[in-house]
Symmetry: C2
Subunit: 346 residues, 2 copies
């Protein structure tokens, strides 16, 4: 009989937290006891899980006593304050924020790519950035078969990556546009940054705030996290991250160079076909290729538009799409917990 | 006194044709006589130009007698049939379709880049593809100053590039989405292709139909036209062309490698600042960068997010935005005619 676990979800009412609860139920995660934790403000409210009502408790250090797994998705500051407290009390933290991702003591895990890294954890395991996860799922089978020596990605990211308020903003702006009213912006590109621009009928070449080198934090996350997850510190990775008026599903135009010479498109497609978590959608004669609208609600990472560069024998182009709230966030967190159960680590 | 010219506009009721008439009027092109030509079906209808009503005539070979400049934007098949007839009768054809762009006898012109090529014309001058024009406007000052040895672009293209019906489709689908109704697709990604997919809340990694090498015609246009315009047949160029739910304004995430080593971001920005047709919008401390919503109606090509690659000393990333119906189509055509007037070629 599978051991029944005490699971805490921190930030259960957010865009990702909601999906975490959906996934725990759908995937029949062995929950003995479920604790929903949030800020003092939300404590006392109730949420449904598996047909039962749960009262949200305040996330205090003591709330993590006797918790086996704590899934965090309530922002970096909450994770920074409480994840170490949870870990100290014996919980395994799976943290969906960027708080610990680049901490050398914290494994950053996509089960299809670096499942073995989980074993090195000291109480906290980090879930990578949404746009990173789907890219490494697609790159890993290629790296394994042909080697990998360069990655340049441009993203087309959905607003749900910025949370519930950004989804509402897209809908409100879209309605205003349709009714010929003034389109007002208060959330995107970055809640809390100085300026806001409309996302409806627009694209925003800024996700997260800027760093000193001219790249945004989102771009630096893709660059640094990819190297860490793939254990390739020397891999050149470049990213341009762009928000598009899509509700759910991140798309990525990825240029790669492989190590091996003379690889054909057919060989590359074959390496991806049947790879863990990957579905190849690449039949241009029938206009089959991945699109975010159709990836929404799906667990897999979809890869298409696979073609060989016309000037560079080792260069290939891919189009990679996944549901950013599922594989990009909630699902990957639950999958980490699942493989820990499988491997007897929980 | 400037010579007054007889100007014919073929396809005056289309998305680009409408903009051509606007630009001719706004820029005070020296029109002595204006002829609006279209298919037999549209002949007899009237259009306004500069406060005067014009009756649309049928575009026949004879309609081009005594025409000085014929601006074509009525689809490739119309250009193929009638542009040679117009040229035979002494008109200079400026053709906005892809019909003659790669014809070695036909100059393919962006005035900021290869104005001198106009002189070699034999009656037909081609206007490049929208997504190509804005990219070469941004690349030419860089090439002149530092050399250029690699280009990899991913585009974020507006629906107006597919004409009036695609704009209507985006609005209709968006309204259906707002009202919770079924979203139906009949135009995009390509009118006349087998399948159609929604563009509202989606992105489509197909513009134009596919070629045998896995690239679309749109992608091959960017690749081949860039080489031709810049006179760099050996330049490696790769493109991934994607439609986004934006009405007007194409955006491009462009990776380039320059020839010269040790170039700084400041030097690159300086080379672009004040370059013909370019406006640098690149002040990340104040969240200033190009966006399609704000490029609409503007003549210039906007360049921002200029940054140096973190792994490649000769690599740079740019974000390039322009109004696809203006600089990408109608305006560039009129600018070709204007420089011909300036150079005494008309």
């Amino acid at each position: 009989m599978v051991k029944q676990l005490t699971v805490a979800v921190v930030g259960a009412t957010g865009a990702v937290g909601t999906k975490m609860l959906e996934q725990l139920e759908k995937r029949k995660f062995p929950i003995g006891k479920l604790k929903l934790l949030a800020s003092k403000r939300s404590a006392g409210n109730t949420l449904e899980y598996a047909g039962q009502s749960y009262t949200i408790e305040e996330a205090t250090p003591e709330a993590f006593e006797r918790v086996d797994v704590a899934l965090f998705s309530a922002g970096g500051s909450v994770s920074k304050a409480l994840a170490p407290e949870a870990a100290k009390r014996g919980a395994v933290v799976i943290d969906n924020t960027s708080a610990f991702r680049m901490d050398p003591e914290v494994p950053l895990v996509v089960p299809e790519v670096n499942r073995a890294d989980i074993k090195t954890h000291n109480g906290i395991i980090a879930n990578p950035n949404c746009s990173t996860i789907q890219m490494v799922v697609a790159l890993e089978p290629i790296r394994q078969t042909f080697g990998l020596k360069n990655v340049i990605v441009s993203t087309y990211q959905a607003v749900s990556g910025s949370g519930v308020s950004a989804i509402e903003e897209l809908h409100t702006q879209s309605l205003a546009w349709d009714e010929g009213k003034n389109v007002e912006a208060a959330i995107l590109p970055v809640k809390g940054d100085k300026k806001h621009f409309p996302i409806a009928r627009n694209v925003l070449p800024q996700i997260d705030v800027f760093t000193d080198n001219g790249f945004t934090y989102e771009e630096m996350k893709m660059i640094n996290e990819t190297k860490k997850i793939m254990h390739m510190n020397e891999l050149p990775v470049a990213a341009t991250c762009v928000r598009v008026p899509v509700v759910a599903g991140h798309s990525e135009s990825v240029f790669i160079e492989v190590e091996q010479a003379g690889v054909t498109v057919e060989q590359l497609r074959e390496a991806l076909t049947g790879a863990p978590g990957v579905i190849v959608q690449d039949d241009i004669a029938n206009q089959q290729y991945p699109m975010p609208l159709f990836a929404e609600g799906q667990d897999e990472t979809f890869v298409g538009r696979i073609r060989k560069d016309l000037s560079n024998d080792k260069g290939f182009h891919l189009w990679v799409v996944a549901d950013n709230l599922l594989k990009g966030a909630a699902l990957n967190s639950i999958q980490i917990a699942e493989v820990m159960v499988e491997d007897g680590l929980l």
